[in-house]
Amino acid sequence: MDIGTLMNVMRDPAGIPSHPVVFQALMIFTWIFHIAFVLMTFGTAGLAIYGFYRRDRGEYWTRLSMAMTKSAKAGVSLLIVLGVAPLLFTQVVYDPQWYTASVLSARWLVVFIFTLIIGYCSWFIFYYSNKEGARHRIGWFAFIGLGLFMLDGLIMHTLAYQSLLPEQWMNWYAPGGVVDTSGATLHGIQWSRFLFIISLSVPAAGLYLMAYADYFKSRPDRERPYLAFARQLGVKLSVVGLCSSLVLFLWWQAELWRESVLATHPVGWLLGVSMLVLLYATVRYGQRAHGYALMGAGMAVLSILAVWREIVRTHYLLPFDYDITNYPVHADWPSTALFFLTFLGVGGSVGGFFVVLLYRAGRVQGMYTADKLVSRMGTLAVVMLALWTVTFFAYGIVIWMSSVFGN
């Protein structure tokens, strides 16, 4: 049996509960936020280390290093949680690819867990120690943290890339016909793709700094010269970073051009053009435009990257006749409604309340007293959650009783 037919056989026999394109769209959409936090975290972590070793050049570097350490700390939490969704949706429509790739490098998935914990703890030690007058050697904790985060990024990249190469799976699993169940090898790494995506963390840090400077404008305890320093550094990082990323992008593209369809695909070119536009905007308006607008432009680039990544995947798998649109569907409306109502209702009201509160409180020096809108948002959040919980139990008890006593 050829590997293409086999991949279709390996699909889960339960089918999927909604149209595959719904999952594909959600996968792309949620990946944008995941990768944004990955890049922000890597970028700010790198900047925190750089700033830490430049403290003798001025007080601003100390402050910046401390602020970026804190940003990276929160960033890791969010990149983990935001990574769950795209991975979940990937497993729905690309289950044969993801599971095979994972088993083939299974030990590395275990390594991923423990290195992420160690890396995160290490970063926390750096966070708690990175104060004024901190000793040089605590920088090692930061190096260990960032190094392990990078390793984890490489592991995830490898699994994603191995998913695209089904013709290699059997060779990797049983080289020379001898089965290897150790899962001890990272088999497929595409350095151009990995380095390109990781390189975007430099401009991401730059854009983040510009937004950071604008966010704290309203705080009297954040002096203008410090914010101007941050902004200027942000512009510099964005420009240098985007230029480097463009070179790496061309390297990746050159590898993709072996596939004739991908060489002429407009979305690939659009990604390159969008980076050029962002570069131009940063050079031209970096000192004037609102940091949020430039960050929004950065998110637009990542959105195109997310779409391009999916196009690349479909083109790798099409020769094997793997097409997600023919995945068998067994529609399940109640659980579909559960997700979308929770996403919009709870995500919107509770998530919205938390984010707005954090945003507004952070812009005020000293105590923040909620205005009418935020106060109402808080009440709405609690009410929505109480309603959700009551509905969950009431609905569940009815189903449960009908299953248990209905037979």
């Binding site: 995500g347 509770v350 409180a361």
Partner: protein, 469 residues
């Protein structure tokens, strides 16, 4: 001949993949239960602080919150993903089955998970930074959102045990899978125990607060300990109810193997914890870190680890909904999802012919490759629950055959109870005679080598040959 949708096998010598899951799972349960329980303790304490005008209670909440942020949220969130990864590599097909039945439930849980992570930062860092009433709303919203993550994941975990009736097999509806017979009992156990764990950690924080007034410590301890005791009582009562909701195969496993091994420890955990909480309430200023920390470890090692191992063992031979075996084979038809059982198909054609990840040179058994094929078939069919090495800690197969060196004796077991599914906690494994012979030859050889004191694995050494040829 139809291939089946099976995946490659990952095997960890000695401990198998089961222990990897167990270790990560135990760490996760301790961290996540503490987090969710603590969220309610925060809400309770903050309500008290607001109503009785005791802002000093918030100092305690902040300190506890920081501890949670560092340990519980880092370790809890990473090991949460870790459990997912570990079940993926241990039972890819079982995980795929769960994902495809519950994707929207999981996605809803993700919404809460995201909200929870943002919420814990907001809760900790905004203490004293926003007005009290707004913060109180934030804390209650955080507590409810945290509990919702537990509500949503437990329906899935309970389904892993079984749906509890025939309804789901006929309808295939997520409703019937999620609200299974096991769900509410399981929820009661988890909700009760999360309050106990959070209380113990809360007492740990109190015992480390050297710089705070005795009044504050007393107030906190006397607020928390009743919650811990009530939680413990709920957990124990619901545990007995939980036992009544288990499938027959689980009860056999529980009575025959698990309770004799773990019951004493579990009773000790309940007793010691209850005594400690009562004594803490009576003498709130006598808390000592050197007692609370070991107690928490004691709960984790003697309480949670056996609980996780028990739950995983009781499910056997299934990994999901009593329709997917641990060895990736679909055990039965599920008409509601158009799923077909595969045991008979394998019996007719043999695993070597229908498993996609078998090298061509091993698809036909010869005298030269019999041991190697035997080892591979044993890994595929058995290694999800058993180690292959004699003396290994994970229910190793050679020892299960009492060191038998006669392959006919081993083959008789495979062709008897296993073929007919007569052992309730083992999968029905019905293989063609030549495949049974290969497995029996391999296991008999493993025991023979142990007798001779030759540690090298025959199947493994046989594997080396083709590379050299």
């Amino acid at each position: 001949m139809d291939m089946l949708g099976m995946y490659p096998t990952f095997y960890v010598p000695q401990i198998g993949t089961a222990w990897i899951m167990g270790i990560i799972g135990t760490i996760h349960v301790v961290a996540s239960h503490t987090s969710v329980g603590a969220a309610f303790l925060f809400a309770l304490l903050e309500t008290k602080a607001y109503r009785e005008n005791k802002p000093q209670l918030m100092d305690y909440v902040k300190r506890y919150g920081m501890l949670l942020l560092v340990f519980s949220y880092i370790i809890g969130s990473v090991t949460g993903v870790g459990i997912w990864y570990s079940i993926t590599i241990a039972s890819p097909r079982g995980t795929a089955g769960l994902i495809h039945n519950f994707v929207w439930v999981w996605a809803a849980e993700w919404v809460y998970f995201t909200v929870e992570v943002i919420g814990v930062y907001a809760l900790v860092y905004l203490i004293g930074k926003v007005d009290e009433l707004t913060h109180l709303k934030l804390t209650w919203a955080f507590a409810l959102a945290s509990w919702a993550t537990m509500l949503l994941i437990l329906g899935i975990i309970s389904f892993m045990m079984w749906p509890g009736s025939e309804v789901w097999y006929q309808t295939g509806s997520t409703n019937h899978a999620f609200y299974n017979i096991n769900f509410f009992a399981h929820l009661g156990v988890r909700t009760g125990s999360m309050l106990v764990m959070a209380t113990i950690v809360g007492l740990m924080v109190v015992s480390a607060m050297k710089d705070k007034s005795d009044e504050l410590k007393k107030d906190v301890v006397r607020t928390l300990t009743p919650v811990g005791l009530i939680g413990g009582a709920v957990a124990v009562i619901m545990f007995f109810y939980y036992l009544q909701t288990l499938p027959p195969n689980a009860k056999v496993m529980l009575d025959a193997h698990l309770l004799p091994r773990y019951a004493t420890g579990m009773i000790a955990v309940v007793a010691v914890t209850a005594v400690y909480l009562v004594v803490s309430w009576l003498k709130p200023l006598s808390l000592r870190l050197w007692i609370t920390v070991p107690l928490f470890l004691f709960i984790g090692i003697v309480g949670v680890w056996p609980e996780e191992r028990t739950r995983e063992s009781m499910r056997k031979p299934y990994v999901a909904g009593q329709y997917i075996y641990g060895n990736q084979v679909i055990a039965r038809d599920v008409p509601g999802k158009e799923i077909k059982g595969e045991v008979d198909h394998i019996a007719e054609h043999g695993l070597l012919k229908v498993h996609p990840f078998i090298p061509d040179r091993l698809r036909a058994i010869t005298d030269e490759n019999r041991l190697e094929v035997g080892r591979l078939l044993t890994k595929i069919s058995c290694a999800n629950c058993h180690a292959l090495e004699p003396g290994a800690p994970l229910r190793n197969i050679p020892d299960k055959f009492h060191g038998a060196t006669h392959k006919d004796l081993i083959a008789a077991f495979i062709n008897g109870p296993l073929k007919h599914g007569a052992v309730s906690y083992m999968p029905r494994i019905d293989l063609p005679p030549e495949e049974v012979d290969a497995i029996a030859t391999y296991l008999a050889d493993a025991n023979q080598r142990r007798l001779q004191g030759t540690e090298e694995d025959a199947g493994q050494s046989a594997i080396a040959r083709p590379e050299k040829e």
